[in-house]
Symmetry: C2
Subunit: 106 residues, 2 copies
């Protein structure tokens, strides 16, 4: 588990950016306006998110569109699997776990 994703998400502005990108991909300027964060800060945050593998960029005309990359979220999900037994105590929960494993493998 690469911890960079946690430190990236821990910063409030970056978390908001991620939540916005969950709805749809957006250019830098739109993130800046929506969140009332100056453009340079947004670009810096996006760099951190990109370095962490959380977002990807594609150019479109004059602007750069950022969107989420699923990989890191899958990574968190896989890691969380180890902890699910903490609260999934019913026996049939085992089926879930096995199903998840199968899904991962497939």
């Amino acid at each position: 588990m690469n911890l960079v994703i946690f430190s990236a998400l821990a910063e409030p502005s970056r978390f908001q950016i991620v939540e916005l990108l969950r709805v749809r991909p957006r250019p830098v300027g739109e993130l800046s306006e929506t969140l009332h964060i100056r453009q340079p800060q947004v670009s810096k945050h996006l760099k951190v998110l990109a370095d962490a593998g959380i977002v990807e960029m594609r150019p479109h005309a004059n602007q750069r569109i950022y969107e989420l990359s699923p990989k890191k979220f899958q990574e968190i999900d896989t890691w969380l699997n180890n902890y699910r037994k903490l609260w999934e105590e019913r026996f049939d929960a085992l089926d879930k776990v096995l199903e998840r494993e199968k899904k991962k493998a497939g």
Copy 2:
């Protein structure tokens, strides 16, 4: 989503502590020895984890046993639900989502 859990997990020593506590509850001294981290640092990290709601403590004789609290992991899991559609693209994945919702409600 409370971001404190992310910043708490982002610190490597604390993440290791959490991983050890996933196996079983442990006293401070054992964490210190196993991870080769001085006891005061371990206590500090445990305080951060406790404040974040990730661990709970119970006294046992002379020592204090720390163990994971499932709540925050469930919180992450619930939050991740919003992102699963990023990679669960097959139609039958919808069943999963509905099943999760039902489970949460129940």
